[in-house]
Every structure is written in C-alpha cells, then in structure tokens.
C-alpha cells in the first residue's frame, strides 16, 4: 500500500500540465462504433500503443461451406460486435475502424472444467471453449476492459502498456482451471491465414513464440513473450494441421508437457489449480523483431505484477492525451461523443518498434530507428484527410515521427514508394493514390517537424513515378488513367492530381522550382476526366474518348471506387475554384450540392456496398466513407457558407452518437472521428497541404487546445445552441476575420478564437 501511494505521487508529480485534476477518460465510451459497421474495438490499449488487447465475440470464416464469401464477416474487422452474446477470448492486436480485416494475434481464453480446445464445438458436438457474457457484466474505459465469462464464472480484466498486454483473471475454486493460447485464431475467425507458428515453454511460467500470417499483409510476423503470475501445473497443445515435428522419429509425447510446439495450426493450454477468487495474471509482450525483443519490452514496461499500477499508468497516459482538447460546455452525451472520437483518433498509427528502437522493416530486415519512433498502420487514403492534420495540431512530434517512419518505409521499399497502407512491415496496397505526399506537404506548410525535406521531396517524386503502379505510367503519358487499362480510373486521376499538387508544395518549400512546375502541371490533370457535355467527371478510355456506358449514380464500374460521379466527382481539393467554374459556376455548383444532400438514392445503388450503408448516407452524400468528407464544407466556396454550417451540424447530430452504434460507418483508423473533432471545434482541413481550415459551425461553446508549443488556444462559440448554428462572425485575438477560413498559425498560436453564433444565416 505504501508503495502504491509513493507511486501515485511520482506519477502526479510528472504530470504537471493543467489537467492533472481533471479526468477526461470518464467521457470515453470505448463501445462507440462496436455496433453495426464502426469496426472499433472496446479492449485495452495505450495511446498509439502496439498492443490492443480486446475481446473477440464470435468468429466468422470468410468463406462459407459452399466456398462463397460470407457477408457477415465484414462486421468483425475488430473482432467484436456489440450484438453478440459470446466471447471466444482476448487477442492482442486489433485494427480500429479499418475497412478490411487482419490481426487478432494470440487469442487467450481462461476456462474451468473439462479441457476443451475447440472454440465453438468439439468433434463430438459438445460446446467449445466459447463463453456467454452479458453487457451488464462488462465495462470498458481507456486502457481497461472487464467482463465476466458466465460459462466459467471467471472475471476477466485487461489493461496494457505500449507493448505489453496485462490480463488478470479471477477464477472460481477448481482443480481444472485452464488458460488457452489459441494460435490459430485470426480476425476473421479461423480462415487459412497462418503460415507458421512456434511456441516454446521456457519454464513453468514463461512461454515465447511467434506467428507468421498471410492475410491482408502478405507476410506478417509477430513475436511474443507470455508470462504467468503462477506456475502452471501442466500444459500441452493440439495441432490441427498436418505439419509434423519430425517425419521420421517421434521420440516424445509432443502433446503433453513438451516445451516446443510448431506448425500451422496450434492451440496450447496451461493447467492450474485455483482457489475461490484466486487471481492468475498474464503479461503478454509483443515484438516485430524477435522473442528476445519481446522479453526486453516486457522487462522494460511491466517489471512487476501490479495490475492496478499498469492500469493507473495507462489511465494517466490517456488522460494526458485527451486533455489536449479541454471541452467545457457540451452536454454529457456530446462530451462522450467528442472524447470518444478523440480517443479513436489515437488508436492508430501504432508504435512499431521495441523499447530499444529495433523494428522489422519493409525489406524484412531488422532496422533501428535513429532519431525517431517508428510507426505502422498508415491507412492513408483515409487518414491524410483530417487525422494527420489533427496530429499537426495536437501531436506534432508524433506526426513528425510518422513522416520519418514513412520515409524509412520508402527507403526500405523495393519500389521506392512511400506507404500506401503501411501494415506491420508490409505494404497492403489498399485503396488508391499516394497520399503520404499530402501528409508531408501538410506538415511542411504548417512548419511541423524536422524531417529531411529534400529526402521527403525525393521520396514523393519517386513514388509518383512508379509507372507500373496502378495506372501511373499512363497517367503521366496521357494525362489521365484510362479506364480500360486500370479500373476506378477517375478516382485515381483525381487523387493523383491532388497528390501531385501536394508534391508541388513540397518542392516549393525546398525551392525546387522545376519539380514544383512539373507537379503543378500534373495537378491540373483532373480537367482531363471532366466531361463538360454532361457536367460530370467521367471515365476515359485509352483512345482519349469518354466511355459511352456511364451512370453517374452507380458506385460500381463507373470509374470510381467506393463512390460515384455525383459525390466522388467533387474531388479537386487543390483547385476548388476552378472545379466549380468548370462545373458551371458557384450557383450551379451549390445546387449540385443541394441535390447531393437531398436526393433520394435508389436502393440498387447501395446494396452491394459494404462501406456505404444507409446509416452513413444523407441523400447521395456519404459521411460513412471518406471520399466526400470535404464536401459539406464546399458551400464555403460558393458564397453559401451558411449551408456548410447547416450540413455539418446535422451530420454531427445525426451521424455520430454516444452509444455503441454511434458511428455511421467504419471509423477508418480514426478519420471518421477526426472529422468530428474538427467539425465540433468549428473548422476543417478541406485542403491538406494548405495551411487553411475552412470554417464550419462549432458544436462546442468553449474548448481549449493545450498545445505542445506551450500555448493554449481558447475557442469560444458565443451564443451557440441547437438553433444558433449560424456563424455571424469570427475573430482571432479580438481581430475580426474577413475570410471564411482560419490559418494554422491562428489555430496554434493565437490566444482566443471567438465565433459569434446566430439563429439566422448570414447570407
């Protein structure tokens, strides 16, 4: 007890920011997004932590018995669905909000009674190790999760440090208590993702090993150390694949108390005698490097068995990060929505290196980060939009490290490309564009970071010139991606043009006028896919002609990806004025926007879309997916700013909530949540790579940004209410703005930004 008090004093002593007495974690509901298609997880993790220790509520195999795709799997990208009533265990890695699945490494499940190693059902039809649970016995807060496993009367608690998961199970009295380590389980379920697994029982309470998978990432390897607080009395494993230890000699009883297990599909178990309410804890450390690396992480981060201590430390870490935006005036509901969104913006990218800086690179060699912290999980098609811009405000040091991680990725890439989707020492090539250039440009124009600008330019230019990637060669030659050569060609052309504009900004910042000029030319290629005859962006073919068959409402096969010409066609952030001019001028364009938000979309246009559901749709506008996230703010370019103000308030109101179903689509590694944070504060980075934020309509009445530069910026929305959604004026440090955007300097270096709100639009 004395020890604990001392510890608390030390922690509080270190935590000398203003926020030491405020608990923002109380407003985080980790269940938001766990119902329907948010794809978030409720488990325990630190801000940007390498471990995401979270319950897996069921499993779905990607392919059904008849070989067809199982549509149910899509809900399980983070392993948890709120509507489920069973848990199969707790795994150590989970994506937050992503649009595809992977991970789920190292499923741990405590049970009592007869040992059962099959998850759902045994061969003879008995129940598997899965347990029912009830939400009334479940609780989650940042860095902590608890649940009662009803079938076993086991109380499970989870917390985590950056690289170590910490389990605490309270057992009933039993001479048949087990802890199962299921090496087969993957998100989703038990599909054939495993390449190889290896488990070593080092002594009576320490287990090491690794798993290699081939899934969304082509070859992903995660090493671990698993340490029990109490020696197991016996252990064993069952192998579900045909790979034998040794084809010629079987000198051992390999299945019981044999300390080396390997193969494709293994489930291990560890047996204990337990007293009533006896606790058995497990520390489970990860590494991308080696089991030796995992052991280093374990010893450095949790050199004790005090679960409460780690829980408290992680709680403090979360509170420190959440306190960077101090919101004073929202309803509790909205505070929960706000702080959970803020929480969701810090679940990825994740730290991807051991405590000694070693990490596995894209070339599969072991590298040491020099002068930065290495990160992975860059879901860039999503996150360049608002998440990285948010980091430039509240996590500039981390964003700097992330950019350095992207440059290391480039250097290790055999293609010499910046990441498209960095995925645990793999590139999974998901979605389109090369938006790392946007992240770099955005940081540069905002003076964030000390990364090597020339290197960044070189890496960006290399990336934009990989001719064999996704139509780039044709794009460079012809000025557009031809649909007959590379599908989703309009989306690609539009995004390449924007990314090229970003490269021009990078070139400008290092004074390379030649490159700036070259990429400004490329940034205009969006014009090449606009068909003035019909007023839409439209797929062109190699012969230079627009394709005849074309439905601007269809999201499939019409030159777009996860969008249609109506909404995705508005993607020219780098030159909105010219796009609007091209589309008939401000008036006509604002009507296009009006129709977009109000039209009735036939079911046929959305029924095949996993990423776009009715929950996230307003007319033909899609908040539940990324490509249109800037659109509600485009009224600002038509002179009808008040319509932006209306739309964003409606979106915040209707499409975000404080309950488990509070996300209207995949959180997409934090982008959906970052949109909310910006919009709630009253501005949004419509054009990452420019220093400006378009004005919206703040939901907060008062918020204070506590920034790393030592400055605190107070944002006040005077007279704000559910009715007073219109911005009458904005002033910065007392000086009234004569424009409808804020600059990054104003957002980070002023003292006070005051919105005056009204119940009538300012036309």
């Amino acid at each position: 007890m004395f020890k604990k008090i001392i510890f608390t004093i030390i922690i509080l002593g270190c935590f000398n920011s203003f926020a030491q007495n405020k608990d923002f974690t109380q407003f985080v509901n980790p269940f938001i997004g766990t119902d329907k298609m948010g794809h978030t997880f409720p488990g325990a993790t630190t801000p940007f932590g390498m471990v995401q220790l979270s319950p897996q509520t069921n499993f779905q195999t990607m392919y059904q018995q008849d070989g067809s795709y199982n549509p149910k799997t899509y809900a399980y990208c983070a392993g948890y669905q709120y509507s489920d009533s069973t848990i199969i265990g707790f795994s150590h890695t989970n994506f937050s909000g992503t649009g595809h699945s992977d991970l789920g490494d190292f499923l741990v499940m405590p049970t009592v009674g007869k040992l059962v190693l099959d998850p759902l059902k045994t061969e003879s039809g008995e129940k598997g190790f899965i347990s029912s649970f009830s939400h009334k016995n479940e609780m989650a807060s940042p860095g902590y999760y608890e649940v009662k496993l009803d079938d076993y009367n086991i109380f499970a608690e989870l917390t985590a440090s950056d690289r170590v998961g910490f389990h605490q199970y309270t057992f009933p009295k039993s001479d048949e208590a087990h802890i199962i380590l299921d090496m087969v389980y993957n998100v989703y379920g038990y599909d054939d993702k495993n390449v190889w697994t290896f488990v070593r029982v080092e002594n009576d309470s320490t287990v090491t090993g690794y798993r290699q998978t081939h899934g969304w990432a082509r070859t992903r390897t995660v090493y671990f150390v698993m340490q029990f607080s109490k020696p197991f009395k016996s252990y064993g494993h069952k192998k579900y694949d045909k790979a034998k230890y040794n084809g010629f000699y079987r000198k051992f009883n390999e299945e019981e108390n044999f300390p080396e297990m390997a193969g494709k599909e293994i489930r291990a178990y560890f047996n204990f005698d337990t007293e009533e309410n006896e606790r058995i804890s497990i520390k489970f450390a990860l590494s991308s490097v080696s089991t030796k690396g995992a052991m280093k992480n374990l010893k450095a981060e949790i050199p004790h068995w005090d679960f409460e201590k780690t829980k408290a430390e992680t709680h403090q870490k979360w509170n420190k990060e959440l306190s960077k935006i101090e919101v004073k005036s929202l309803t509790t509901e909205d505070k929960i929505t706000f702080y959970t969104a803020l929480y969701h913006t810090m679940l990825s990218p994740i730290i991807y290196e051991d405590v000694d800086g070693q990490y596995r690179g894209l070339d599969q060699n072991i590298h040491t980060s020099d002068g930065f912290t290495n990160y992975t999980i860059f879901s860039l098609w999503d996150t360049y939009r608002a998440l990285h811009p948010l980091f430039n405000i509240i996590h500039p040091q981390r964003n700097n490290d992330m950019i350095k991680s992207m440059l290391a990725h480039h250097d290790q890439s055999v293609h010499k490309m910046l990441p498209i989707w960095s995925h645990y020492a793999n590139e999974n090539w998901c979605m389109i564009g090369y938006h790392a250039t946007s992240v770099i440009a955005d940081a540069l124009v905002k003076n964030v970071g000390d990364f090597d600008k020339n290197h960044a330019l070189e890496a960006s230019i290399n990336t934009a010139n990989v001719n064999y990637f996704d139509g780039i060669g044709d794009y460079k030659k012809m000025g557009f991606v031809p649909e007959d050569k590379s599908s989703s060609s309009v989306s690609k052309t539009l995004e390449y043009a924007y990314d090229d504009w970003c490269i021009a900004q990078i070139a400008k910042s290092v004074g390379n006028t030649e490159a700036e000029k070259e990429f400004l030319v490329r940034s205009e290629y969006f014009k090449n896919v606009y068909d003035p005859k019909i007023g839409y962006m439209r797929p062109k073919l190699s012969d230079g002609k627009f394709r005849k068959e074309f439905d601007p409402l269809d999201t499939h096969g019409q030159g777009f990806i996860e969008g249609n010409a109506w909404n995705y066609g508005l993607y020219v952030p780098q030159n909105l004025d010219e796009m609007i001019q091209m589309m008939g001028g401000k008036e006509r364009f604002s009507k296009h926007l009006d129709s977009l938000f109000t039209m009735e979309l036939d079911d046929k246009y959305i029924e095949k879309n996993e990423d776009i559901t009715r929950d996230g749709i307003m007319g033909n506008y899609v908040q539940g997916n990324e490509p249109g996230h800037h659109i509600p703010y485009l009224y600002n370019w038509t002179g009808k700013d008040y319509k932006t103000q209306e739309r964003v308030r409606i979106i915040m109101d209707k499409m975000y909530g404080s309950k488990q179903d509070g996300l209207c689509g995949n959180d997409d590694a934090g982008q959906m949540s970052a949109w909310y944070i910006f919009s709630a504060l009253g501005f949004y980075p419509v054009v990452p790579g420019s220093p400006n934020y378009a004005l919206g309509s703040p939901l907060v009445e008062e918020a204070i940004l506590h920034l790393d530069n030592g400055n605190s910026v107070k944002i006040v929305a005077k007279n704000q209410s559910a009715k007073n959604i219109y911005v009458k004026s904005v002033s910065v440090d007392g000086k009234k703005l004569d424009r409808n955007y804020l600059t990054h300097d104003e957002v980070t270096m002023s003292k006070e930004i005051v919105f005056k709100m009204a119940n009538k639009p300012k036309k």
Copy 2:
C-alpha cells in the same frame, strides 16, 4: 592479368607451410560416393563452408502418385546420382553423406530458347527446363565443378567461398537466354516442404530473398543475395500455390517485372540477350540471419567478378587443409581414395554464421558468436566415433569451436540439451544417444580446446537428465530403457551407458567426484540388457523381464536400430573387457567376431534396410553403417590383434574405392571417410573419451601429419604391402611399444611412429 599474378603471389606468400608446392587436390575425386548410396555431392564448396553449390541431377518426390513412399528418393539425399543423365539445376546447400534428406536451397538453372518454368514437363507435355548432360563434359575438383548442359549448349562452372556460391555460365548467342531461380525445389524434389518464400528484385542485377522450409528441420530459414554480372533485360515469376499477394486488390501485373514475389511455391526467371560465348556470372550469398547479412557476406568474401580468383583461393584453402596429412607412398588409386576421404571429412559440420559473427540460434533469435566460430550439421550419432577424434588431431581449433557451438546450442535449447543432430538452427532429433558428451570428453582427455569445462559438464548432466527424452526417465529409474515404453531400447541403453561414461570422464577432468561416481554407475547399465542365458543383449520390458519374442539377427523391432543383437550388441566401448568377460571370455568372443564376419545373412534381414545394403556388409558385419565401426578393432581385446589387422585391410580394400561407387554406404557427414583415414594410418579411436587409439594395419607406407601445434609426425609402415598386412612391432620415436594402442600424445607430439610389417600374423 597483372592483377592475377599479384594475387597469386600474395596467396602463396600467406601459405607458408611445407606443402606450398604440392597439390593434394589432384587426388580428390568429388564423385566418390555419388553412385549408389554414398549420398555425397560433387559440387563446389570450401572446407567446412556454408555453401555447397552442386548439381541436382533429377528429382524424386518422396511420395508417389498413389501416396506411397517412393523408395528411389533415398538415393538423392545430396541431390546427385551418377547414373543420371539429366541436370535440373544447381542448388546452394547440400548435405554430404547424410542418411536423410533436406536442403537443396535456391536452384539456379540457365537455359536458352523459349522460356519454360516447369522442371520436367510443361502442362502441355513439352520438355521442362531440365537438360541432359554427359560425364565426359563434366569435371569436379575441390571447390570447382563444371558441366556442359547439352540441351542449351551452355557451359556451367561453379566455385564458392565460405558463404558465397559463384556461378559462371557461358552462353551461346541468343536473344532468349534465361536464368531460372527455382524457389520450389527441395531435396528431395518438389514435395511440400516450403513454408514461405520471398524474392525481391532490388535493382537490375541484384535479387534478395529467403526461404522457410518444414522438412527434416522443423522450421529452417535461409536468406540470400543473388547478384548478376550483367543486368537482366526483363524478369518475372510464376506462382504455383494459391497464396495471393493481396486478396482484395490486384494493382500490378505481378508476374512480369514486378519486384516483389512471395508465396509458397515460386519460380522466378531473368532474361538476357547473349552473344556467342558470352559469360554471365552470378554471386549467390547465403545467411541464416537476414538478407542484410547475406549482403555483408557477399561484399566481404567476393567483392569482385573474377571467377578464377575465387576458384584459386578456394583451391588453396583446400590444399592447405588436405596437406595436413601428407601421404607419400600409396598407389594413385589409393591416394585418390585417401584424399577424397580426407576431403569428405571436411564437408560438415559447416560454418553457420555471417562474417560479422551473427547467426540464428536454436531459439530462432539472432545471436553473435563470442570467441568462437559457430557451426551446424552435427550428425553426432555418426560423427562422434571417428570424425571428431580426427578433428582433435588435424583440426583442434575447429573442434574447439564446434564444442563451443554445441554449448551455445545447449544454452539456446528449451530442453537444455546438447545437440543430438544440429540442423540449421534446428534440432532434428535424428538417431539416439547424447553423443555430444563423447565429443566433449574426447577433447578434454586429449587437452584440445579452451571451452569452459564446468559449463560442458553442466550441459552434459542436463542433457542426460531430460526424463521425457527417448526413454531417459525410465533408463534412470530402472537401469535400462524398457522396450514396451521406447523402441530400440537396447541400442538406447547401450549408448546412454557409453555416453554416461563420457560424462564421468568430463566430471573427472573438473574434479567433480560426485558426478563422476554417479555417471560411472550409469555407465554400467549395459549389463542390465544382457541375457546370459542366450548370450545376447536383448530387449527388456517394464516388468524387468526379457521380451520373449526375439531374433538376434533381425534389425527390426528387436530392441536395436539399424543393427541387430549380433553386431549392435557389441556396443560397450567404455568397458570392453567386462563385456567380453560377460559374453564368455576372450576366446568365445573372438569366435563370435569370426562368425560375425563370415556368416551368411539371409536376404530377409536386409531387404527392408535403406541404410544397410549388400555393398556394405561382410557376413553380418556392417561397414556401410555406423554402429559397428569399432568392431573390426575388437580382436585387439581378445589377444588376436592379427585378425583386426586382416579385417581392416580387407574392409579398406573391398569397401572403399576411387571411383564414383567408392563408398559402400552413406558417408554420414564424414564418419565413413574418417574411419578410412584412421584405418589407413594404422590406428582407430575405438573409445572416444579415452586418449588411446587401437592399432590396426596401416595402408600407408609413409604419412606425415602436419599439425597445428607445429609438430610433424611421421608414420612409417616398413615393409608394408598387400601381403604384409601384419604388424610385427610398433615403435614411437625409436621406443618399441609393449601395448596394442597408441596414445593421443604419441600421435600428436612424437616425431616418428614406425610400424614393422610382416606377411605372417604375430600370435
């Protein structure tokens, strides 16, 4: 040219031993053992080198189409059979003489004409990339191999440094020249051994990657760098498995000019235009650590493109090692047999670390050798008998390093066991006993090495107490391994007892009398499996009674492994006098030996044995396999030394030869050859762990051992001839021996050992 001359001077300058003007490599015929069951390879390697770059003449899948075992495969343990007339390529790793198969990594094949990626036949029935060849266009010498590939008119030359294979292909004129990198091929053939492979085309002439296999070794990973002397004009690969790069997006033409290839089964190709007689060279470096490690090895060992230079350096390395035993007087035939045997004793163990000392350990972590060179391939059931004793004479420093490698293996072993069969960071558990203890004891009693004796004792004691291993628990409890619990129980009991005696010797050398006493007790357990009623070692059951069913001639299911009670039952090296007494005394025992060598063995006793063929059998004595290698020398313990002299000369004469069929059984990592070297010199280490060598009948008339201690020992067999096979007397430095053995000090520290030979036995 000038450069070359300079280089040669430098090399010769370094090589200041007596042998600088003598070429012993001329007497090495690398084809010995490539016909029938020698399991040797003819390709290019350095002494104890990590690369064995050798032709693969055919392939055999382990399982036939009907799922049954294909008996032909056994001939292909080293990938090459002399009777074949086709070559499918050149692979970089090959075991020498082992009794099971693995390796064959990274098969490279040059072709011209239409690209064909199937090895034997295409799907449409056309010929695969395999080529016919003829022995008249084939040549091999230490460190060099050449062959003409008839189907393509390509002249192939191979050499190697320790860690880098060097290919030189002379092409005809072609605009369709190809070099195929077949990542699927394994020894044997194309069975499902691959776990994962990864190939990266780093630039227009450099390729990196790795392969992970699950075969004899459970999880073996080899990394490589492949560098071409000329840029390829294009490249590609074909994947033969179902593992897709990415299940969701296919943004590339992955098959052509796409620099990342991965999957279970891949064949890559590289295309060239060639002029008539144009040479394309390849440097192919290996590493157990990483591609980065392989690159370090490449740069350190062959930083140039001078094939002849590397060939000359490797030739010199070989000559230096071969010159350690200078034989002056044999016929050319016998010199070829002798020096090829000597050559075969230096093909394994192999160096298993990168130039910077990093290597993959048994725990799959990366370690750095500290104060030693790390080795792998310890086929200890074979090699403790004569190979490691030979190393104690001519390679004491290497044997010291090997023992340190074994201790590192122990330290990394989760079982805390010394190696049984160390196999590329794996333990393959092949055969029985824990004979690393013998290697350690033998080095200790001979004062070889500076390894930590106490650590060696601790590791030995740990190993001998792993109760769950192969009957050890019962052996300790009951004094024997019970056949009903663990088969081959008599062989195990006998070998454990010998190994325990070795541990006692180690304990004695560090003054641990308690351990010495304990293990001396265990060393007597051989008595517990002797049935005096029938006069044979015989399997006992857990109830302490001998098993009723018993056939002392049968090698299957009678308590022995690869032997029967008649021959394997004579395995008590540590206490031969007592064994002989137990078996009825000297006279009766010598008659047992007479019968052993002269009886007619029914075919039924050998037909199921892969390891024992008629070629290697004399009566019921088996020279073609290891467990009886000491037996011909046992007459020395019966007073009938002359019979040993007769037997060993007959064995050397009949069972070794200078042609491709010159080995009567698997060379077993050099043990068969080491037997020959000792026997040809006139003595043999019947009891490794004692400092004594039993006298035989030298085949040499004169041999000089040039030892690392600076001493040269001349061995003279006066009056030796095919008829004068009997030893009349032996003197050391002029002093006549009054015993029938030599000591290690005499063999390594005297100046002259003189055998006087006669045509009549000395009775």
